[in-house]
Symmetry: C2
Subunit: 617 residues, 2 copies
């Protein structure tokens, strides 16, 4: 970690409040407000290169660097923040602050209530996520910052990011929400409810007035944290880390005779519980948990999430973690779907990580790539040369380099997507200038880039592979990571001028469904595919007695991703059956005989590839 | 429920013990032993129609019928047990008993310790699942029962079933384990560890000596049960039952001003916790939970589960529930895999139910079908006529009736499996008499039945659809429900004489993998497939310009399950490439020209279907 941000310190800002104090959303008032924060990286002269980091339930301002010893006290997001990391401090000025109600330097239940001269305790006013965001807004004002390049946060921090996006939309360019939700699930509420009971039924809870009266509800808080820890880890990681190993030293805690010793997972949880009691305050835990439980963007407006997102002006990136069951991917997707329906610029991706919810803190390599790809153009410190190095060049057409590799290994849609330069040119011609396009199976985003350059088209891609997501984000386009075979349910009706299925229809499980979905979400569609009616393929089949392999269909029968072969004629008949109107057909052939057949109008026999522009009347 | 077993009562058997008492596995001794039990259905004269039901963690002997009011107190497995139900009391005599250490009539911590004249409390001896099984064995002896038609149980009851199978192998014909595991996962242990802490850190716990001293650790027990309840339900069912609804009446429990009321899910959990405190004892909960935590079949022998299962003589059915995350399906599959490796007769199936772990109690229709199909031949009360009515007839060959339906709707492998009568005859001829066969993609089990009838072959099927599982079980064969595309990892090397891929290779995602897997698990393989090199198909393609549709390939390109088309020649070349030796090829054609081509030796051109027998030298 020697190349991180180095030694840092937590500072505490005493926020200047108006005489009437700071009014909280639920009616409470704070007469004094202090906020603990750290910063990393240089503030640009125009002060527009600031990234604000929102912390999770038990996080603090110390997100990166170290206070005294790099080994002992690295920041909680050390791997994400620093020179050359996901949030690159060579370009960005990063601010991270402890939250209202916390116990790490920002005003909270342990702070002295100026009205009584004693700690607030359980009398600390009810607070919400909106209050957290507003106090952080005051901090930024205090620091002379009025614009944010991005707001970034995971878990409860992601909820704060959403609140920022709807409450202060003009203030930021981009938002990144990781492993979060627009509201907690019933299951998460249930866990919190049990955790709350654990704390408040501890005899040392004293209704929250335990300061100066012994240890406070240490047992209850430790138990609550133990429970929390179970929910932060996946089933699999618990298995591989602890399995059913036993502690070597001790007997059964109930003191039974001949009983085997305690399981290691119990020891781990006990250790985590104890550690937490030493660094956190029960009142803060309850207050922040309550703010998290109550956060619910969707219920604020009759139109739900979609209406809640109406004011959003920033470009958003929503990241889910595959093994997260506390904030499951469906909840992230719900956020992204609502943003799409609200017509906002949003990208969604799913990071495969075995770790569970905590992956956003510890299992972080892919997350770093994604965040880094999403944040490259903001701020002024970024050199053009640096940008050019990092954004992969556009292939000049023809075979994509990954294609040969893909043919050997396991196959995924994204690996095998390739459209020739000629095909891409035809598609560019078919697109109206300035059109909004949806590229279904977008691969690395070459076509999106070409349509942008040639026709000024803006758009979004859909693909299944995270590597494609990183590439497309790096090019500056939006992408929705999704298995097309699951449908395009996240895209609202008629959201695009044109949807493109370039070399994709034959690789999906349910081509008929995908074709019809394409014309639900866009006024027009462009489909390109290999034509199995081509004379060359049939001749090859007859002559060799084998499934044809060649330029148009470059795979062996047993490893081809092209699982639904069809002819131009087949496609035309399906269109007729499904009341789809064909507006234009472009038949391509590389071969001399093929070209001759095409010139005679024998398209089904002559074409090796076909592009069709369709609409639903 | 008027057609259930009707009014029943719980009886208590006082078990006659030898003078030295009943010695427990961990060294403790019981001087007195009472066991509460119920029975349903008539005991056959030969006393061999008995099914013993093992209960879950907090279950009791009252599994079916009612005590006073059918609406108010139905048995906990009412939907499973009764005339015409999964466990059919017209044929079976069902016995269900409360477990050792319980608090429902069987000797446990609340019972009087004859040595002291006071309740055992925390001094109740350490007990294990083996002790539970042995005491139930004593009960059966007391009832004059020495043979069981089956032992059936879910969750912790399933663990007892496994213990029965390895500890008393000669006593039973069949075993059914539902939603269980050969040992708890690390995550489940973690939850139990937190639950245990909740009880033992309740100030009213008094080290277990709370009898006669007030309510006992009611708060702790209620909290532990609340936590348990979260783990019994799936994320989805929690969402649909409670979502984020709020209780109408109350304010925030921390007494904050202006705070919204409590969530309904909290109220539900509180209610469940309170209800449980009224019906259960904390010492029993801890003792039984400890027995469950410590149960671990795999660690008993160096060879793990496989070795532990060596003595098993019964035929087993292992059932998993898709949404169960407390006893996830992988754990059930682990049991089934180990039984397969140990060479035991086992069927495995996965029931899709949204409910979570509790599905085995409440979301039960499919489970009833599966259990019923697995248990039809045992006992003497079962009339032959009744059997004939319930076992579906063998189709006489040609198209299976589900095929036309399948072509319209969504497609699954099992739906489209069909081999003509001629193909099945060829396969029967290729199989050696008495061979052990594996039918990969076995559909309804027609082929297994034919090979049994014609060649005396025994075997097991693999298919993906639960409907097929029920049919195959009903026919009396074993089946492993599995997606072939995931491989055949559960089948040990060389376990079968012959594996069959009848009309299956072309529908899987990775045909090359499946082909090689087939020859890993069996000495020989038989593959039947449609030959895309057939002259008729090529002619149809050329003449109509469309993908051929006909007898051999009866689907449209956009809904065909045949996603990897290939020719006989393709298959031969792949065999050569993968060092697979072709022992025999049978080429079939329905057409006159096809037959002529075949007679000229032009198999690749003439055959519409091909059967190939292969081996790996």
């Amino acid at each position: 970690m020697s190349d991180g941000v180095g030694k840092v310190e937590t500072r505490v800002a005493r926020i200047a409040l108006p005489p009437e104090g700071f009014a909280l959303e639920r009616g409470g008032v704070l007469r004094e407000l202090e906020i603990a924060y750290e910063t990393y990286g240089d503030l640009a002269e125009d002060r527009r290169n600031v990234i604000f980091i929102c912390t999770a339930l038990s996080g603090d301002a110390h997100a990166a660097g170290y206070h005294t010893d790099p080994e002992k006290d690295p920041g909680w997001w050390e791997a994400m923040i620093g020179p050359g990391r996901g949030i690159d401090t060579r370009y960005y000025h990063v601010v991270c602050a402890n939250i209202l109600g916390g116990c790490k330097g920002t005003t909270g239940p342990r702070s002295i209530d100026p009205a009584t001269g004693r700690p607030y305790g359980a009398r600390f006013p009810e607070m919400t996520v909106a209050d957290i965001v507003e106090t952080h807004c005051l901090l930024l004002g205090h620091l002379g910052i009025t614009h944010l390049a991005a707001v970034v946060g995971g878990s409860f921090g992601g909820m704060q990011v959403l609140e920022w996006a709807v409450r202060r939309p003009a203030m930021m360019d981009r938002c990144v929400c990781i492993a979060t939700a627009a509201s907690l699930s019933a299951q998460a509420l249930a866990f919190d409810s049990v955790a709350r009971n654990m704390i408040t039924s501890d005899p040392d809870w004293c209704d929250g007035d335990y300061y100066g009266r012994g240890a406070g509800p240490a047992k209850g808080l430790a138990q609550a944290r133990q429970l929390g820890h179970i929910t932060y880890l996946s089933q699999d990681i618990m298995k591989s880390r602890f399995g059913r190993e036993r502690r070597a030293d001790t007997g059964d805690e109930e003191g039974g005779v001949g009983a085997p010793s305690e399981f290691q997972v119990s020891s781990y949880l006990e250790y985590q519980g104890m550690k937490f009691v030493n660094r956190f305050d029960a009142n803060s835990y309850l207050r922040i948990m309550r703010a998290m439980d109550d956060f619910d963007l969707a219920t604020r407006y009759p139109g739900g999430l979609e209406e809640a997102f109406a004011p959003v002006a920033a470009k958003l990136l929503v990241v889910a973690v595959s093994s997260d069951w506390l904030f499951p991917p469906e909840q992230s997707k719900e956020i992204a779907n609502a943003l799409l329906r609200a017509g906002k610029a949003v990208s969604y991706c799913l990071i495969k990580a075995p770790y569970g919810h905590d992956a956003f803190l510890v299992d972080i390599d892919n997350l770093v790539s994604v965040v880094h790809a999403f944040l490259p153009w903001v701020g002024e410190g970024r050199a053009a040369a640096d940008l050019a190095n990092e954004v992969p060049e556009l292939p000049t057409g023809g075979r994509a380099s990954s294609r040969a590799d893909a043919a050997k290994g396991s196959l995924r849609h994204a690996d095998v997507k390739f459209a020739t330069g000629a095909e891409r040119e035809v598609i560019a011609r078919m697109i109206a200038p300035g059109a909004r396009v949806l590229d279904i199976g977008c691969g690395h985003g070459e076509l999106l880039a070409l349509l942008d350059a040639r026709r000024g088209a803006s758009g979004i891609g859909v693909d299944i592979d995270l590597r494609q997501v990183v590439q497309v984000l790096n090019r500056g386009y939006d992408i929705f990571q999704e298995d097309i075979d699951g449908g395009l349910a996240m895209i609202p009706d008629g959201a695009y001028d044109c949807a493109i299925l370039s070399e994709t229809l034959q690789v999906v499980q349910r081509p008929r469904l995908v074709l019809n979905e394409m014309l639900r979400v866009a006024r027009e569609g462009i489909v390109s595919f290999p034509n199995f009616g081509n004379y060359g393929l049939i001749w090859q089949l007859l002559r060799s007695g084998r499934m044809p392999v060649g330029k148009a269909l470059p795979f062996q029968w047993y490893n081809t991703p092209n699982i639904h072969l069809f002819t131009l004629r087949d496609f035309e008949l399906l269109c007729r059956e499904d009341s789809i109107r064909i507006l234009e057909t472009v038949a391509l052939s590389d071969a001399r005989l093929g070209k001759s057949l095409l010139s005679l109008g024998l398209r089904n026999l002559g074409a090796d590839r076909v592009l069709v522009r369709v609409t639903r009347p």
